[in-house]
Amino acid sequence: METRTDAASLDAASLLRTTTARGRRVRDRLASIWMIGSLLVAVVPLALVVGYVLVKGIRVIDVGWFTERISVRSREPGGGMAPAIYGTLVITGIAALMAIPLGILGAVYLHEYGRRGRLARLIRFMADVMTGVPSIVMGLFVYTAWTLRFGLSAFGGALALACLMLPIVIRSSEEMLRLVPDELRHASYALGNSKWRTIVTVVLPSASGGIVSGSMLAVARAAGETAPLLFTIGAARIVNPDVFSGPTTALSVQIFGNAQNPFPAAQDRAWGAALTLVAIVFLFTLAARFVSARISRRHRA
């Protein structure tokens, strides 16, 4: 190794290298290897899962996949996934319609009204705790509180997903409201606006980028859920246009069922459904990033 003596190029790193005892340098190097190695260890399963889903899923997807009903024959290929794609989109959509407005209102309470008060602190804490409630428990809850009385329906599944999304939307929206400078609120009050007009016309629009992207991440999370749907939506092989009654199906439920099937044709269907679901989830995740980047750029301009 060439040793430089001229003082200007003797930076901190090389100084350390030449003045630090060997054992300490080795330990530092080992720590670096551990850190980079950890990253590689995380990349391997990601690459494997995404790779398998892509390669195995693409083989069963054609035009009929998006238009035909689900085949009853698990030994033979054929049929499509249209009812499950429809079910996933509709159930997630209804859940979003319920959870996002309520979640944003909840966040408005926490940050604009409750602030550091006792009740607001309790709600904030319990919303955090609620994000940790297992999704299968949400499924059981909706089963006992809704499905036992009103039967299987897309709406029941949407209720369960909405319960999962609510705390996520509340906490992510509150973080965004916190970023809105108080000067904006004061300027609006100074113009004679009341508090609720200030929130609706000034605070929420300036936080909209973050709120939209946070909500879309919550939607993406919900779209992939299986456990809350198992006991609440039933199993159908055709599109059920009535969201309030009768069984329906979803991509995640189809994957779960077909994955346990011993026949290759059914397993192929599971891979195809997995590719469709992952595509939907990734699209939402990417769109969320895109929206937040775009809106924050517009605001800066």
């Binding site: 350390l16 630090t20 330990r27 530092d28 720590a31 670096s32 551990w34 850190m35 950890s38 990253l39 260890v41 995380a42 990349v43 399963p45 494997l48 995404v50 309520l102 209102l105 909840g106 408005v108 309470y109 009204y113 409750g114 309790l122 709600i123 804490f125 919303a127 955090d128 609620m130 940790g132 409630v133 297992p134 999704s135 299968i136 428990v137 059981l140 809850f141 006992t144 509180a145 036992l148 609510l166 509340i170 004679g192 606006n193 009341s194 508090k195 609720w196 007009r197 999370r221 992939g224 299986t226 456990a227 006991f231 994957i255 779960f256 994955a259 346990q260 997995a274 679901l277 992952v278």
Partner: protein, 327 residues
């Protein structure tokens, strides 16, 4: 000040000038609606506890305490001892945490302490994608790819340690590749993103003055991490790990597919087992009567355990957060 200033003639009333403009019915109505939305969180949590406990009551009444102390689970004969599932849940989550913590901590330290800004973004991206993949997709990959691949590995490891005292118990015979260990490995991948991102938040609160002080005394990067970063963020990292543990205990579908569905208590990590969440998912469809209410009872136990873990973890994280903001 001796007397309140008189309002200016013709000027706005004092009421309209209050800082939060607390005037008018519109404000009160809007505030009330927002409050109700906030209270919804408490309402849903309370309803979960009431509705599920109510539906699980027949099983709780019939079994009593033996619901959680007995491992005798024979639904056909009406015996519902859930200890094997509680054991399975704890074992599988412990395996997951054991594998996930060193990796998560390594990535968090890499992203915050070692990586350049340009490298940091792809790291975050990888974690985002790992977190975005649905549980059922991990399960599908686990049951059709990972479990068959692990089967020969389990067999040869099991043969190799045959007769060695402790190892023989831990690594017995793996027949199908679906086991406690397989489920733990899949779970480890699934909880790595959450542990990493929470740890990164905590590590980001370490003041730079601490780092610079360590470097100033001639520390290498690793010595700086041990002297400045880890002591400062220890509490928060413990909280992050506990949240990961809570997530692992409640994770359902991936585990249901790869754990092997066998109600048994064994130290053999290669043996098939079952967890509370997995047994609910796998057996609820064909259950009725007391059987069904026993499965809902498992949900109640799972709810209580995850709430306790989450409350403890959030308590720690919130305290760290407050300290960071105060500093």
């Amino acid at each position: 000040m001796t007397a309140p200033a008189a309002p200016l003639p013709g000027g706005p009333s004092r009421k309209a000038l209050t800082a939060d403009g607390a005037a008018g019915w519109g404000d009160r109505a809007f505030g009330l609606v927002a409050l109700l939305a906030g209270l919804l969180v408490l309402l849903v949590l309370a309803l979960i506890a009431i509705a599920t406990t109510n539906e699980a009551w027949p099983a709780f009444r019939e079994e009593g305490l033996s619901f959680v102390t007995s491992d005798d689970w024979v639904p056909a004969e009406g015996r519902f001892g859930a200890l094997a599932f509680i054991y399975g849940t704890l074992l599988v989550s412990a395996i997951a945490v054991l594998f996930a913590v060193p990796v998560s901590l390594g990535i968090a330290l890499f992203a915050n302490e070692a990586a350049s800004n340009r490298l940091r973004r792809p790291v975050v991206y990888v974690l985002d994608l790992l977190a975005a993949i649905p549980s059922v997709v991990y399960g599908l990959w686990g049951i059709l790819v990972l479990a068959p691949a692990l089967r020969p590995v389990f067999d040869s490891v099991g043969d190799a340690v045959d007769g060695v005292p402790v190892l023989d118990t831990l690594f017995g015979t793996g027949s199908s590749g679906r086991s406690f260990l397989t489920a733990g490995l899949i779970l480890a991948v699934m909880i790595t993103p959450i542990i990493t991102s929470l740890s990164r938040e905590v590590i980001a609160t370490v003041p730079n003055s601490q780092r610079e002080a360590a470097y100033g005394m001639g520390a290498t990067r690793w010595e700086m991490i041990r002297a400045a970063v880890l002591p400062w963020s220890r509490g928060g990292i413990v909280g992050a790990v506990m949240l990961g543990l809570g997530r692992a205990m409640g994770e359902t579908i991936a585990v249901a597919l790869v754990v092997g569905s066998s109600a048994q208590i064994t130290l053999d990590l290669f043996a098939p087992g079952d967890t509370m969440a997995a047994v609910i998912a796998n057996e609820f469809g064909e259950a009725s009567g007391t059987y069904r209410s026993a499965l809902i009872g498992l949900g109640v136990v799972l709810f209580v355990v995850t709430i306790l873990v989450n409350v403890a973890a959030r308590g720690i994280v919130t305290r760290m957060d407050r300290r960071a903001r105060g500093a």
